[in-house]
């Protein structure tokens, strides 16, 4: 079951043909140049090999002809290879230099922490009261570099949004840094690329690049605690949540302060759930809550045994978290 994306093949991680920001575009060009050189070298060497196999030869004299020691092949072949490799190495190092640092100081810093198998996202502000936490979905303003600090809460993961930047490991005990920038608004998919246990295959995230105005709007909304209405079925759902879910999940503004699982304060604002695995609809939510262990075997989220009434009210409660 995978419904996080439209059914047709869209190849959201195709970094070889697509790049949407200055942290990955130099690498995109490097990839094209290297791939062309490599393909050309292959064709030349393959042609040499085939010619060597089939070219016409002098009639056989019965003697083994060792007059031509053939060393010029090695001199010329290795000589050309060396020059080519030297050029490629220089180009690669220049590219590395171009992507190591952003062209201007980052406008925004956020911390992403890898968990088995989801991502915690913390937005920092000079005023600590304006910090906020979300999960699995990163919003950034277009056109400016964003500094990402990478941490891990358990094992080694790797953060990779290929059409925006290369990957960096998230290593427990270390804080790695990487920057990325999106020049075009859009939704860019990321994946964990370091094997991190059973559900490594289902540890994805999305980067939502927005115009600065939209981003500020989103940021302001995320900073607020949850606003809860008090209809009776929502109260029942809230009780179910506090009984069954709050040990791990938190909702700012309520007594749910669990820290082991994604913060759900603004759950409804997210496009995907379960580490980028399912689309965030009430139906998928209910499926996920009831059958987490079948859909994502080994995930830290248990399959919850709830009565239909409990499930309905819980779902109603979750739908208020916008």
């Amino acid at each position: 079951m995978s419904i996080a994306l439209p059914e047709e093949e869209i190849a959201p991680l195709n970094y070889f043909l697509h790049s949407y920001g200055p942290a990955s575009t130099p690498t995109l060009h490097l990839g094209w140049v290297f791939a062309s050189i490599v393909a050309m070298v292959f064709l030349i060497v393959a042609a040499l090999l085939i010619a060597a196999l089939v070219h016409k030869r002098q009639p056989d004299t019965g003697k083994i002809d060792n007059d031509d020691n053939g060393l010029r092949w090695i001199y010329i072949g290795t000589g050309i290879s060396t020059f080519l490799l030297f050029g490629m190495a220089v180009y690669a190092l220049l590219t590395l230099n171009a992507i190591t640092k952003p062209p201007q100081p980052p406008a925004l810093t956020l911390t992403i922490t890898g968990y088995d198998w989801w991502w915690k996202v913390e937005y920092e502000h000079d005023d600590p009261r304006l910090n906020f936490v979300t999960a699995n979905e990163i919003h950034i303003p277009v056109g400016v570099p964003v500094l990402v600090k990478l941490k891990s809460a358990d094992v080694i993961h790797a953060f990779w949004v290929p059409v925006l930047a290369g990957k960096t490991q998230m290593i427990p005990g270390l804080i790695n840094r990487q920057w990325l920038q999106a020049d075009i608004p859009g939704i860019y998919r990321g994946e964990c690329t370091q094997y991190c246990g059973l559900q490594h295959a289902h540890m994805a995230l999305e980067v939502v690049a927005q115009s600065p105005a939209e981003f500020r709007q989103w940021q302001a909304a995320q900073r607020k605690p949850a606003v809860l209405s008090s209809a009776s079925d929502i109260d029942a759902g809230r009780k179910t949540f506090m009984d069954h879910c709050s040990g791990c999940h938190s909702i700012r503004g309520t007594e749910a302060v669990g820290a082991h699982a994604p913060d759900l304060t603004h759950l409804k604002s997210r496009r995907l759930i379960a580490g980028g695995t399912f689309v965030n609809t009430p139906e998928q939510q209910k499926q996920w809550i009831a059958h987490a262990q079948e859909l994502k075997p080994g995930a830290r989220m248990p399959s919850m045994v709830l009565s239909p009434a409990e499930m309905a009210s819980l779902s109603a409660f979750l739908s208020t978290l916008d």
Partner: protein
Amino acid sequence: MTDSADSSLIRVPEVGCAPRGSDAEIRLASLWETPPGWRGWLSTVDHKTIGLRYLVTAFLFLLLGGIEALIMRLQLARPDQTLLTPEQYSQLFTMHGVTMIFLYALPVLSGFSNYLWPLMLGSRDMAFPRLNALSYWLFLFAGLFLYASFPLGQAPNDGWFNYVPLTDRLYNTGPNIDVYALGMVLLGISTTVGSINFIVTLFRMRTPGMSIDRVPILVWGTLTASVANVFAIPVVSLAFFMLWLDRQFGTHFFDVVNGGKPLLWQHLFWMFGHPWVYAVVLPAMGIVSDALPTFCRRPLVGYAPVALSTMATMLLGFGVWIHHMFATGLPSLALSFFGATSMVISIPSAVAVFAWIATIWLGRPVFNTPFLFFAGFVLLFVIGGLSGVMVAAVPLDFQLNETYFVVAHLHYVLLGINVFPVVGGIYYWFPKFFGRMMSETLGKWSFWVMFIGFNAGFFPMHIAGLLGMPRRIYTYAPNMGWNTVNLITSVGAFVFAAGLLLFLVNVVVSLRRGALAAENPWAAPTLEWATPSPPPAYNFAVIPIIASRHPLWEDWVDEGYGRSSLETGYLLMEGRETLGTTPLDARPDVILKMPDDSYAPFFLGLFSSLVFAGMLLHAWDFTGLMVMASSLSLIAWLWPSKALAQRVPAIKTDKGVAHV
């Protein structure tokens, strides 16, 4: 030691002939032959038997690893498959890697080298025959050890590179990782003693006249790999032992909470891991460098550059391990250095490629099955090398690392540079091993099916990687753009497996019905082809005296050093004996007394493996008992024996013979 105080101890070995059926030959055979039956089976130290055991065992592991791969390819053929649970998939990809890299790739080459070295070098056995037997038994038991928990569904399951902290006890509570850790330490002993044996054999056991610039390239390859192993294995053994201590006794080498460093594991693992990659390809490249010229009817172009590039590769190979760790957040200055070395390391490979192509160009290729494998190998080597240059570029590696592009690259390298030469090498040396030729028709079929299947299976993996498919995912969504490439890869994998099956059928059929092989069916130049097929237990009735790099081609090509003497040489038959020579020039130096068959290696191997089993199960009494049993085996092994006493330390060099 050239002069002994007691000159009566000095013995000058007789020089003479010992044609088949002569009294001398019969006496030699009785000295060297292993008695039949299970006793001989457990006690033999014949390098040829040990070499074949290595080959057969490694091939069985290749089949196991291959079956694991095919099951994974079924799971990945279509998106969202549920053939395997995530846990089963993890164990399969881990055991696939462990099996192929540790239990197939190096042991199979050790098999060739064990069998061929003494024959190529003109000796009657390896320098330490009992150590050789021990090395095999330990390899076998370590292999069984690593598989012991597989039937219980508890096999190693965190990938062959086994990164901490995922493999700490906190995240992996079962015996899976302990089996891997202890199994690797055990296997490391086998590899280390084997490597030491190769090194000493090269420098001590070459026949007179085979100066260091006349040894076959396979010998250079295995020597280089062995020296590298002696340096690299302790690193990984230590790392695995530290991991085991962390897991079982609460030490904190890798434990983050208590100041341990997960990155330390990556450094230790790859400091070993990268040299190991070269250790499993350089001897295979040697196979090609030695066998290709036979089918091109001319000597290898650039013997010296190829031999030197072999060693240069290994030397550089110790300075590139960081390229497995470009994405760990190391400073970009360090990355630049290791990225540049990783590109420089392709220069020695270019030397080898152009040497092979020039050999073909300037020669007269005979399109036999082994030649097809070697020529095909050159193409796969080039593809694997070029994709290697792409991943060596640091910024590109930030994208390619941990995607299927790397999976494609490493399979082109390991299958292309190891499996193709190995299969070609078996076609080539099969007549020497068993005295029968393999079928050419089946052979050509097996080559083309393998070659097409391999490329169909593994080339699309490059594309999957460029489309962003990460390694080690047990399934994928249908809309990621990976469906078609994965389906093609799965089909290709099965075609490749069918080709390998054809090869195995060919082996079985040819063992029974192959045409009988003469001494030198391919008209090859090197010394192993001077012995009967299969070679007798003593290898050479007389220790030959060599005058050129191609002793069997001296009728057709004049290298300007006179003629080798193959029929007349040192007799040496007062017990099991062979000749020790000087390290560089191979002048006769000492008569080496070789050990008889012995049970000690088997029992030492068995008991020391049981020591590890005891440690795994925390059965400390049993472990202690087994340590004692191992010590007793070692005492029995080292017990002084009159027959082995080096009572004749020096040979008075007979100048007329030794310097032909």
